[in-house]
Symmetry: C2
Subunit: 548 residues, 2 copies
């Protein structure tokens, strides 16, 4: 691997550890826990791992020593900056406990466990990947660990390699599956502990005990860098409205964090759209009014941030998509109709409300809704280019307003979608430290002999030495939700809280940002400069901390 100059320089960075994890470590047991909701059902589903106590580590005199540990690690789901540091943290942690400990990585995600693909992660491999972005050390995958067959197949290779603990690095679904696996292995006395680590750039895996998932900090800093650059371009050329869509699946945490960082003219928050029961037409109308108001001041330019999941949060669109899914499923020969015939058929067969919504969409988008469907026959909402949909509809609305004498400006748009640009960036100092601590801490949880816990490092707005390290029973974060028609125990997803401090801060300033030009240009992530530039956690985390 040819390394860039930054990669070489960055390899020498020593992530900071909380004081609690330096030297010898004692596990202090807290009170028994219960799940956030549906306690009875979840207790029934997790007979041996429900109600476990929180754990907190404390630094004690002496040296860290223990039996050699054979540990397996899996990267699950989408990439997030810092995954390599979780792994190097686990490696250093188990080696510190006993130099004969060994770490095995399962290749390309959970599928590697089931299909027995693995490598041993030696010191020389680990050293190649310290403080780097990406999941390429062992690769990641989206296979879901859900069935007994998978669990048993995994156990075979774990037994063969003498692995007694498995760390699963993943998002809410992967950690849910980690809890199920922990319960299963515990229930059959397999002798394998399962520990989860909270990963996702989307920021939707968080709660009282997990302040943030790793990767969110770095990814939002990369997006904010390029958004800031576009803002500066926008403010120099003064001729375009830039519509910028941001990854983040259902939740709008990424868009909100980027808005706090860069102060764009508009940032749409899906959770607010749903709460206010807004229609697409209302969103477009609000946008057009902002464009027109800026035009009155001679400012025919601006920046709009759009969360990836928006469409599914617009109640009217959700209803339309649901009816379309049903309609298309029962219409034989639909694919063979001419495009114009398809359109006519749909308009005639949808309920009046949904037909009106369908008819209001630009033809290309309307057609997109009836094309590429997923293997279950569902409309693929993620393929809709929301940024283009909105800018086109805003353009049409502005022409109506012009005819009514309510708009006198020029309107020209550019479109962007950022996602892959940030998921594998070199981790910020925050993520490098946080991930390393999560991994090192996972090693302590293994050494403490527990299972079904998530590695928890808290107090994150403070310097790393003051961080609090411990373990949280995963069942504590669970409730029952309907998935594919069946009630399942899952970790509650954290959407943007409209009463929370980050959204409230945004809401209190956005009227000013909309009309005036208040752009902030964060610039690229810095690794070597002053602490106020290099070591700041996300504004979301800072607001949430202040809001407490």
């Amino acid at each position: 691997m040819k390394k860039s100059a930054l990669q070489k320089a960055r390899a020498a960075y020593q992530p900071k550890l909380p004081i609690a994890l330096k030297g010898a470590v004692k596990a202090v047991t807290g009170k028994p826990t219960q799940s956030v909701a549906d306690q009875e059902e979840i207790k029934k589903l997790f007979p041996t791992t429900y109600g476990l106590p929180e754990l907190q580590f404390e630094n004690v005199p002496g040296t860290l020593r223990g039996k050699p540990l054979n540990v397996g690690v899996i990267l699950s789901g989408g990439q997030a900056p810092g995954g390599h540091n979780v792994i190097s943290g686990i490696f250093d942690g188990i080696k510190k406990i006993n130099r004969d400990s060994r770490l095995f990585g399962f290749i390309m995600g959970p599928g590697g466990l089931v299909e027995h693909r693995y490598i041993e992660l030696t010191a020389s491999i680990i050293d190649e990947y310290r403080n780097t972005g990406g999941f390429d050390i062992i690769g990641s995958g989206r296979t879901k660990l859900e069935t007994k067959e998978q669990f048993d197949a995994g156990l075979e290779i774990l037994k063969e390699l003498g692995i007694t603990a498995l760390v699963i690095i993943g998002g809410d679904d992967s950690n849910t599956n980690a809890a199920v696996l922990a319960e299963y292995y515990n229930g059959i006395g397999a002798g394998v502990q399962v520990i989860g680590c909270p990963k996702t750039i989307d920021g939707d895996l968080k709660n009282e005990m997990i302040e943030t998932s790793f990767g969110f900090d770095t990814a939002t800093k990369v997006y904010s860098e390029v958004i800031g650059n576009i803002e500066r371009d926008c403010n120099s050329a003064k001729k375009y409205w830039h519509f910028i869509k941001l990854m983040g699946r259902s939740a709008s945490h990424i868009a909100l964090e980027c808005a706090l960082q860069t102060q764009p003219n508009v940032c749409i928050i899906s959770e607010e759209v749903e709460a206010k029961n807004m229609t697409l037409a209302q969103i477009v109308d609000d946008l057009a009014k902002t464009v027109a108001a800026r035009a009155e001041e001679g400012n025919n330019y601006g920046i709009v941030l759009i969360p990836e999941g928006l469409i599914e949060f617009i109640p009217a669109m959700k209803a339309l998509i649901a009816e379309l899914n049903d309609l298309l499923a029962k219409t034989e020969g639909f694919a063979k109709m001419e495009a114009s015939e398809q359109r006519k058929y749909i308009l005639e067969h949808l309920s009046a409300d949904n037909a009106a919504v369908y008819d209001s969409l630009p033809h290309g988008v309307a057609r997109q809704l009836t094309l590429d469907r997923d293997p279950h026959g569902n409309v693929q909402v993620s393929l809709i280019e929301t940024e283009k949909l909105l800018s086109e509809m805003v353009g049409k609305r502005l022409e109506q307003m012009r005819a009514e004498g309510k708009y006198h400006g020029k309107y020209s748009a550019q479109h962007h979608f950022f996602g892959y640009e940030g998921r594998c960036a070199d981790p910020s100092n925050f993520d490098a430290d946080y991930c390393y601590a999560l991994g090192y801490n996972a090693a302590q949880l293994i050494n403490a002999g527990v299972t079904g816990y998530m590695s928890s490092v808290r107090n994150l707005v403070k310097p790393a030495v003051q961080w609090i390290a411990g373990g949280i029973p995963i069942t504590m974060m669970m409730n029952m939700e309907r998935r594919n028609g069946k009630m399942k125990p899952v970790i509650q997803k954290a959407l943007v809280d409209l009463e929370g401090a980050p959204f409230q801060k945004f809401a209190s300033q956005r009227a000013d940002w909309a009309l005036n030009t208040c752009y902030v240009y964060p610039g690229p992530i810095q690794y070597f400069g002053p602490a106020e530039v290099c070591d700041q956690p996300s504004l979301t985390l800072q607001c949430e901390h202040k809001g407490k």
Copy 2:
């Protein structure tokens, strides 16, 4: 303006100056020059500013002193990182010469001169913008300074403000116009010097005496950062081909530099496509073969870089577009036809060769070619999403190959276009220093009393103190070219030289990059770290230097 932490820290950066410009400065006059071609015609068009000598500055004992200078400055054309530092360099330069010197900025580009919109740039304004990206200090614009009426209108305000020198910061066209303006003002004895500064991220304004235009270094570093991040994602998930289009207008310098930085699987160079007289089908076929070859090794992923101007360099596409422009211009009522009727009409009326090319395009792209035409009725090639066009055609080609038993992989594509993300980034140390030196040097050219010169700072692969500073008569870079049907004197555009060292380095390694995975991850621009991370000039510049 609310400032980010990086902006605050970066404001304190003191750009490095060449030793020649420190302290007192002496202008050493070189030999008379002549234009790169068409000497007789150009001499005739520039009777008073043709054949001037090169100038080189030398550091001499004593203190820099001179009369107060009243200077105007204009930012022309697209944004490029470092423009603010050129302006702060001019400001510091003329203040050093005499503290009573004054600097005026014309607002929103050359139009500000013609329409008498300006501000005085005071120390407090300048200090707000040191080492920042963007052109927002005074804005930029694309008005071309070409007519006597414009020149005379400009002279009015210059006289009114007592301005005796104008610095035009722009690309090849803007510097061509600067030379014409210099000749005009000189010819009528207006008493206004005109100095140019070489700006453009595209990298196509360079020659023997101008090693690079400013902004290229920073913009390509930002693009390389995000390309590297996408490569790492690609190499972790191993499931997508990413087609990445890069700004850069006609020339492929940006794509080539990014390829040298990140080592993608494929980088298309427009100049090579033209030189080899390649068809779109050949390009697609080459790409498909690379995809298939990687698939044979189990690697169903990769990275393709595409220069923005590609389509116009494909001879067959160029011919098609030319005929389409003619055909559509003379076809009344075309816009009112149904889409299918339009397609039929075009296929029937084009020459056989061009009809075949038209027919081979994906329908959406073919249709795009006949929609939005520019005010002159020409097809807007820049609206074609080349990255999607290529990935779609590659997908179809792969299906043919699969049917022939020549392809057995999976193919799924993602698309990106980077341009606005890099044009207004905070300048790299290289661009911060280079721009400041260009501006400071322009002040010395003004003090030396010359006109029609471009600010020239050379020896750029060496540390800044060793840079060579001076002035080059703009006419020296000119030749005669046909523009809008008329022969005009213009600065020769520098396209990628297929015999040059940067392309040769790329060409010697690309077979390896294509089949194997040799990605390099440059990471974000660093401003505070070790010199090998923060102070490297572009690889293009380094190769060109070695190649000499």
